[in-house]
Subunit: 410 residues, 2 copies
């Protein structure tokens, strides 16, 4: 089985991992239950609720840029714009409540009402996330009934149970928490995410809820989340290619009474968001390789991004990775049609640090060495265009026969 | 086996098919030979030459927009810019002569010299096309030797032999010719093409040579070819996503002495180019379905194209087609992230003429009827955004496990 350990990033200084995922920070309770949303026969939990126990919780959110937005996204965006009092998120799998028209919006509202009753807070305090099949009416009665049976608490296993309840085609739950020691005291950031089959540019839904007990001024929270998402979840999407339901929510309870230096909080938030994003990529359907594509030396940041995304999303390049074939011709081809300014004779490409292309032609590195690297489950492809100072890094995977088989239809 | 008949378009009026492909029009001779370009052991022809016997032949060409251009593309572009006297094209498969630096350009020049010797015309008269593996030196000596052995002639089977010599992963040769009756007399347009594995957005090389014995003023030829390519080969590419070697060349010998009305010639040229483009799509690696995606009602022509290409290139949509699953949620999702202006509640989608979505929600068409259409090898997906007067049509295929298997590497 796949393990997150195979692709984990480096822990920042003064930081240690702790159990509990989104329930690890102080001031949060949650629960998960099987509401039979997809089918009454299913044995898996499919409904989760996370609530801050602190009245002065601050909340930020980033949402899909898709012009077709699911009902829960429209509801949550409106609630966050309206302002104060938000402190809970209710999430379901098995049904995306997308392309469901006006009745879908009414169903999302009813789901929020049921969650507010359970958490004993005003309905304005509840955000909603849904993931699953598009175009099917949401079974609200089952959700209400499921929330009635739900037990809210903390407990170290709780975060993992929440992460499991939002899984769709995910093969493992995605959650993580860290504790950071600062001169002023300790604070925690935790989070969970779901997403698989998310081989861009055509992602399945990505949902994430991140929590912290740090005290972060409301004015800063949205900006910090946006920047962190840019450095993490957005590395695995292509310019605006988002599903109808994509949502990242950050709740700051302030329960630790610590207000860490902004730089340290941001670094920690980025770490948690990045690790969750990497787990999503790694859990892509049928994925056998995790690939970091870094393009440097670009003439603009847009060029760097375009070039990296063209390589990361070329079906031919991705098939070659699946086959362990370091086919640099396909990479050159993708760079060439990316739209980024470039000169063929200046391009350098490295495979896991080994020179593969120098000046647009094959480097003298022994092919056997390259093949050994190409066979590893973790690849780092670095491209230097030698045309400017800008860089961008995208995270992607190979494309396997299994991916296609899994997506033939339901 | 796949047959072109399964996806053929409608013949224009006063037009009939004739054998001979690019050698069907008067004033052309050609030949094909096995030069052992990829390997000396191969039993397949891999080198072709087509020559106009008329001194006043007019030639036009369109080339890849990829910033990484193969040596033969750079050579042919320079020759066409330089002007008069072009009347032959030499083509090889097995080696793309791309990413080969300065020695690659020298090799393309030597290949032209050898072809000019064979055709007994000045070297400036020869254009060069190559397709095959990138980054490998072109074996020029074998090409020279092969051209020495080649027999040039007409003969009805000749066009087919030429089309076979430029095949790479193609499973069938692509050639076609038609004869058109006008009040002034008869003229012919013929052509051949290669390309497969060309499941956009990451196409393998597409080459095509189209010939005609109509007399077309040089000043018009390039414009007409560009418009015809826009209506045919460009329907199967995504905005600028072209391989390093893509080339379409049109030679007009004038040997019929007929100067047809421009409209009739253009319609015929479009028909031949479209049919060749459809053959290329249909021969995509592992393809089981040919899909026309039409988007109408867009707010701009750019919006129409973006929307059609987003649907045509969504890996999730293409996997659903492979599975015979009319998953309209994935289509809505792709429309939503395409960047085209749209309102979810106005979108209509039809599957082979059956209403699938009306006003952004599932239409009441019996699902069994839809499934029957979704199982056919030929699909027409029509989307009406009801947001303006613009339309665009893209041609694509499904995405199967076999496609991935074929592209794991060489």
């Amino acid at each position: 089985m796949k393990s997150y350990a195979d692709i984990a990033g480096f822990l920042p200084l003064q930081t240690r991992k702790v159990p509990g995922g989104p329930l690890a920070p102080e001031g949060f309770i949650g629960g998960a239950v099987n509401a039979g949303i997809k089918s009454e026969m299913s044995k898996r939990n499919d409904l989760a609720l996370i609530v801050s126990t602190e009245a002065y919780t601050h909340v930020a959110g980033t949402f899909t840029t898709n012009k077709v937005k699911a009902a829960p996204v429209r509801l949550s965006q409106a609630r966050l714009r309206a302002g104060e009092g938000t402190r809970a998120v209710v999430l379901n799998s098995g049904n995306a409540n997308a392309c469901t028209g006006k009745s879908g919006l009414a169903a999302a509202r009813e789901m929020a009402v049921a969650a507010a009753d359970k958490a004993d807070i005003p309905v304005e305090g509840v955000l909603v996330c849904s993931t699953g099949r598009i175009g099917v009416p949401l079974p609200v009665a089952r959700i209400r009934e499921g929330l009635g049976r739900m037990e809210l608490g903390r407990g170290q296993g709780g975060g993992d149970a929440l992460a499991r309840a939002i899984m769709t085609s995910d093969t493992f739950p995605k959650c993580l928490a860290v504790e950071v020691k600062t001169s002023g005291g300790r604070f925690r950031v935790g989070g969970m995410a779901k997403g698989a089959g998310m081989i861009n540019p055509n992602m399945a839904t990505m949902l994430s809820v991140i929590t912290t007990d740090a005290h972060i001024p409301k004015a800063d929270l949205q900006r910090l989340l946006r920047m962190a998402v840019e450095d993490s979840f957005n590395r695995i999407t292509v310019d605006g290619d988002m599903s109808t339901n994509d949502t990242v929510i950050l709740l700051a309870s302030g329960a630790s009474k610590i207000r860490p230096p902004e730089k340290i909080f941001f670094q920690t938030l980025c770490f948690v968001a990045s690790e969750l994003a990497r787990m999503i990529v790694w859990d892509g359907e049928g994925v056998s390789r995790f690939v970091e594509v870094e393009v440097s030396g670009a003439a603009s940041s847009r060029d760097a991004r375009r070039a990296a995304e063209a390589v990361a999303n070329s079906t031919l390049v991705k098939c070659a990775w699946a086959g362990g074939d370091p086919n640099w011709g396909r990479i050159m081809d993708a760079l060439g049609y990316s739209g980024a300014r470039m000169t063929e004779s200046r391009v350098d490409i490295d495979y896991n640090g080994l020179p593969l292309v120098r000046g647009g032609e094959q480097a003298p590195t022994p092919w056997k060495k390259i093949l050994t690297q190409a066979a590893r489950p973790r690849l780092r492809v670095t491209v230097d265009l030698h045309s400017g100072p800008y860089r961008y890094e995208a995270w992607t995977t190979d494309l396997t026969e299994e991916y296609v088989r899994l997506n033939l239809g339901e």
